[in-house]
Structure formats: structure tokens, C-alpha cells
């Protein structure tokens, strides 16, 4: 019983990845837009894009870590 509730909790925890998905989509959409408008400034965009990607992805990874912790730790 407790184990199945834990699995359910892990599943619910992953709902947070919804936000990260939307965020990553927005970042790469903006990146493509910027690249299409000014292809010569690609170097500058790359750094900002990678930074935004890393910061947004952290949300997804936090959800993932919590889900893994729920599944594999405790009794």
C-alpha cells in the first residue's frame, strides 16, 4: 500500500516537468527567432541560449530527483 502511494507520488512529482517543457520550448523558439533575424551574432546567442537552457532544465531535473528519491529511498 505504502509502496504504491510512493509510486503515485513520484508520478505526481513529474507533473512539474510540464513547466520546464514549456520553458525550454520558449527559449529555443526565441533562440531561433534571434538567429533568423541576425545570423551574424550567433556566438553571442549561443552562450545566452546555453545558460537559459541550463537554468530552465534545473526545474525538470529537480522533479526527476524528487521522483527518484520517492521511488528508491525509505522503506
Amino acid at each position: 500500500m505504502e509502496g504504491s502511494v510512493k509510486l503515485l507520488g513520484a508520478g505526481i512529482a513529474m507533473v512539474g516537468s510540464l513547466g520546464a517543457g514549456i520553458g525550454l520550448g520558449l527559449i529555443f523558439a526565441a533562440w531561433l527567432n534571434a538567429l533568423a533575424r541576425n545570423p551574424s551574432a550567433e556566438g553571442k546567442f549561443r552562450q545566452v541560449g546555453v545558460f537559459g537552457f541550463a537554468v530552465t532544465e534545473l526545474v525538470l531535473l529537480m522533479c526527476f530527483v524528487i521522483a527518484i528519491m520517492l521511488m528508491y529511498t525509505g522503506k
Binding site: 545558460f51 531535473l61 528508491y72
Partner: protein, 248 residues
């Protein structure tokens, strides 16, 4: 189920060498892969740069590309004054990069998938940045927590928020790298498990090609992630360093 985390297990490879406060310290597989990473990176840098040719060969080109990539990144993210810190950030980058890449060898251990390794590096970074900030600016360094041009009434909240966002940096830095490596390796294992269980599923066995193909793609993606995460770690280190050197 627990076998998913089996590849991240640390086991000893030698009898206990020293005992500190009741803890037996032995040579583990984690230590082995860290030693390998350091040895490989040192070998790459020393041997590749030995010819010091004006027109670089393949190995020298690789070493120079890595060096230039980090040098440009540090200069653009942390400014001119960060030049003395470049060797430190470059070492962090190379160490994490090699640990990540060694983790991609089957049956090996990705050292960076243990949060304590990343956290130790992040803590050293955090201490160096804080000490640099205080030695360079004295108590003026505390102005870092006061955003310029903020309304007076909001200041108590803003200072608390700024302080928290400063203090939480080593945690977010280490958890990002650890979770990325953990998630990638677990993903690979889940798809591999899917392939095996589909093979045993009778008339559905033909479908087992699909997760296998996906796994090949994910493996490529994991190599990309290994490089990007090492880069991001060094990049964020440089950005945090900028705070200490230039304030705001």
C-alpha cells in the same frame, strides 16, 4: 527495480588504507575514475602541446580548442579581471568533462553522478568567490545583496531574497550536474531494459528494435550533455566570479 541504481554503486577496490574517525578509507571505483580523469586530462594537455607547432596537428588542435573555448567564455562572462582565475575554472571544466566522458564507457562509473563530488567542487568555488569578494571590496562586498535603484520599502525582502539566491548557488550548481548525469544514465538503462523485455515478449519481439534505435540516439545525446554540462558548470562559475570581482 533497485537494479536501476546499481551502476552508481560505490565499492572498494582495495583493503582499507587509513582509518579516520572510525571511517575506513579505501580506494574505491569512484577514486579510480577520478584518478583516470586527472591522468587522461594531464596526458592530453602535456603530450598534445609538446610539439608547440605553429600549425597545430590534430591533438594540439583539440587541446587548443578546449583552451580557447574556456578562455573566451571566462573573458566574456567574468571580464578582464578574471584572468588570474582562468586556470582554476579551466581545471574544473576539464575535470568535470573527463569525469562525464569516462562515465559514458559501459560498465564504468560516472563520478559526477554523485552529488557530493560536485558539491565539494562547488563549495571550494563558493569559498574562493566569497573570500575574493571580501578581500577585493572589504565590507562593501555586502552591497551585493542590495539591488541598486530598488524602492526603500521593498529592501528588507530584497536583501533576504538576494542573500538566499547567493547562498543557494553551490547547491543548484551541484544538483544540476548530478541530476543531469543520473537522469541520462537511468534513461539509457530504462530503454535497454525495454529492449530486453520486448525480446522476451514472443510475437512482439520485432518491436525491440525501436528502443534499441532510441538508445543509440540517446547515447549520442548523452555525449552532448556531458560536454554541455561541463561547459555550463564552468560558465556559471565564471558568472558567479563576476559578482565578486565587479559587483552588480
Amino acid at each position: 527495480m533497485a537494479s536501476l541504481l546499481e551502476e552508481f554503486e560505490i565499492h572498494t577496490l582495495s583493503p582499507p588504507l587509513v582509518t579516520i574517525g572510525g571511517h575506513e578509507i579505501a580506494f574505491t571505483n569512484s577514486a579510480l575514475f577520478m584518478t583516470l580523469a586527472v591522468a587522461a586530462s594531464a596526458l592530453l594537455m602535456v603530450l598534445a602541446m609538446r610539439p608547440q607547432a605553429l600549425i597545430p596537428g590534430r591533438w594540439q588542435m583539440a587541446a587548443e580548442t578546449l583552451y580557447n573555448m574556456v578562455a573566451e567564455m571566462v573573458e566574456s562572462a567574468a571580464g578582464e579581471k578574471a584572468r588570474p582565475f582562468f586556470p582554476f575554472i579551466f581545471s574544473i571544466f576539464i575535470f568535470i568533462l573527463f569525469c562525464n566522458l569516462f562515465g559514458m564507457i559501459p560498465k564504468s562509473l560516472a563520478v559526477t553522478s554523485h552529488v557530493i563530488i560536485n558539491f565539494s567542487i562547488a563549495l571550494v568555488l563558493f569559498l574562493i568567490i566569497t573570500i575574493t569578494g571580501f578581500t577585493k571590496h572589504g565590507l562593501h562586498f555586502l552591497h551585493l545583496f542590495v539591488p541598486p535603484g530598488a524602492p526603500k520599502a521593498l529592501l528588507p525582502f530584497l536583501v533576504v531574497i538576494e542573500f538566499l539566491s547567493f547562498a543557494v548557488r553551490p547547491f543548484s550548481l551541484s544538483i544540476r550536474l548530478f541530476a543531469n548525469m543520473l537522469a541520462g544514465h537511468i534513461l539509457l538503462q530504462v530503454f535497454a531494459g525495454m529492449t530486453v523485455s520486448l525480446l522476451a515478449a514472443g510475437w512482439l519481439a520485432g518491436l525491440s528494435v525501436l528502443p534499441l534505435v532510441a538508445n543509440i540516439g540517446i547515447t549520442g545525446f548523452e555525449f552532448f550533455v556531458a560536454v554541455v554540462q561541463a561547459y555550463v558548470y564552468a560558465f556559471l562559475a565564471a558568472i558567479y566570479l563576476r559578482d565578486a570581482l565587479e559587483m552588480h
